[in-house]
């Protein structure tokens, strides 16, 4: 079944006000184009799920999309704070933001439990930390074999997962290389899955290297082809991280007005990702990846 969709259509059909929305990608493959479209469509009351809210959730929080955040590290990596996130938490601006907080391990385990179809998974983490004190979803469990006391987190099954990847075929069979983060777990945990890719490729490309497939097409509801769709994050083999933009975000976001002007110019003011690309041709060119090909392997028998 063909799953090709425009970003506008995919976000409109598959993400609803009030949904629990996981948008994963650890530094690599962050679905910025999808986030911008959700801002443009003025989606509201979302519960946003990401290990690292990063700039994309900072922007969505500033735009008023989020009611609640499920997360484990909210900063601008290597730069400093997420100022819109802090304004929401410290001052309730533009609206209060409910927090549900984990460590990275804890949140990956929630998605893994969701993907695995069990209501919980145990961990040796969390003893001695105050995290369980402020998050009652982290609780104790006793090993039925040894009697040891461990900790447990409950399964998380988002309404929708939005995941950026290098490539997929039109049926949604999706391949990723480089860092894979918690993409697979988010895809299997979620009820609906949107995959945003740099390139839609022929099924033969997928079938020639099945070990690279991270998400099978029958789990995917929409495939959006959106080159440069992860900028300012990066896509291994396609473009580098825009570290300058991450540094500039500190200036842009420190002040709510300045952040609003950024959204006006770069999100509300643009129709789609194509116009975004066309507005920064030197950046697109400057970040392009060098070619460092791996060697092929033999799948014959």
């Amino acid at each position: 079944m063909l799953k090709l969709a425009t970003m506008q259509d995919a976000m409109n059909r598959l993400v609803h006000d009030g949904d629990i929305v996981a948008m994963e990608g650890f530094t690599h493959l962050i679905p910025f184009a999808a986030g911008h479209e959700l801002i443009r469509q003025r989606r509201r009351e979302l519960t946003l799920v990401r290990l690292t809210p990063d700039l994309i959730f900072d922007q969505m929080i500033a735009a008023g999309c989020a009611r609640k955040l499920v997360f484990s590290w909210a900063g601008n990596p290597g730069v400093g704070s997420l100022h819109a996130f802090r304004r929401a938490v410290e001052h309730g601006f533009p609206r209060p933001l409910e927090l549900e907080e984990y460590s990275h391990f804890g949140l990956t385990l929630r998605l893994q439990a969701g993907a695995a179809g069990v209501p919980f998974l145990p961990t040796r983490n969390f003893a001695g930390s105050d995290l369980p004190r402020v998050n009652p979803r982290i609780c104790r469990v006793t090993c039925p074999h040894t009697g040891e006391e461990l900790w447990s987190v409950p399964a998380l099954t988002p309404d929708v997962a939005i995941l950026h990847a290098q490539r997929a075929d039109a049926e949604g069979n999706t391949q990723v290389w480089g860092l894979v983060g918690v993409h697979k777990e988010a895809a299997f945990a979620a009820r609906r899955v949107v995959v945003v890719v740099e390139e839609v490729v022929a099924p033969e490309v997928i079938r020639r290297d099945p070990n690279r497939t991270l998400i099978p097409g029958f789990r995917v509801d929409a495939v959006v082809e959106e080159p440069f769709g992860a900028h300012p994050s990066y896509v291994q083999g396609y473009y580098d991280r825009d570290n300058d933009f991450y540094a500039r975000w500190e200036e842009i976001s420190r002040d709510a007005q300045s952040l609003a002007r950024y959204l006006d110019e770069w999100v509300y003011g643009l129709a789609d990702r194509r116009t975004y690309r066309e507005k920064m041709p030197e950046t697109v060119e400057g970040l392009r990846a060098r070619q460092m090909l791996c060697a092929p392997v033999n799948y014959g028998y």
Partner: protein, 254 residues
Amino acid sequence: MSRNFSTYEIMVTSAARMLRDAEVVFVGIGIPNVAVNLARRTRCPNLVLIYESGAIGSQPERLPTSIGDPALVTGALGVCSMPEVFQYYLQRGLIDVGFLGGAQIDRYGNLNTTVIGDYHKPTTRLPGSGGACEIAALARRTLIVMPHKRRSFTERLDFVTSPGYLGGADARQRLGLPGGGPQAVITDLGVLKFSPDQGEMVLESLHPGATLDQVQENTGWLLRAASQLTQTEPPSDEELRVLREEFGQRAAAS
């Protein structure tokens, strides 16, 4: 041996020197990233660098700007998922050393990276745990690197994100924490270790130019000092060259 080095540089080199060759190191963002890569390029060519992003055995050509930098993948020995890195590596007990830092630390090496003030009505909201809580819980030992400031070295934390020795040396065992806990705290003034009896911070060495008074002034509790207080070995010319030339760290070296 150079005499021109910054407190930042001696903090980084002191941290790098706590590593032994061929150890498996869980590398965090910021100074740990610099320290581990410095060690790898100098004394410890066989360090295995593992990033929580899932990069295994990275040999980055450039100093990574984040723990998810693409340079950590290109030329790495492997890549795994994040559920695997936390379970199969960290929780399985395969990580020899993890690095930590924080906004606040107490005498037991407990760390706060979550919040200043009340959790539900914070004065300052900090980033949170990331992987710190599990590194603190599960790595065989941890090294803590952070600038020595009185507002950071506090009598009482506003929030325990990542456990050190909690209330004393045997508290970890009582709670069933698998990891060994902090081995040392490396600051811009000196190196501190933990007493085996109390699990309490003890000043072991002062960096050249730093004084005991200065350290005490910047510590929010009455700090114990080793009877044999030593002076930290300064950075070598080679270490400074790597930091400045290969990593372009001069700007940060103020």
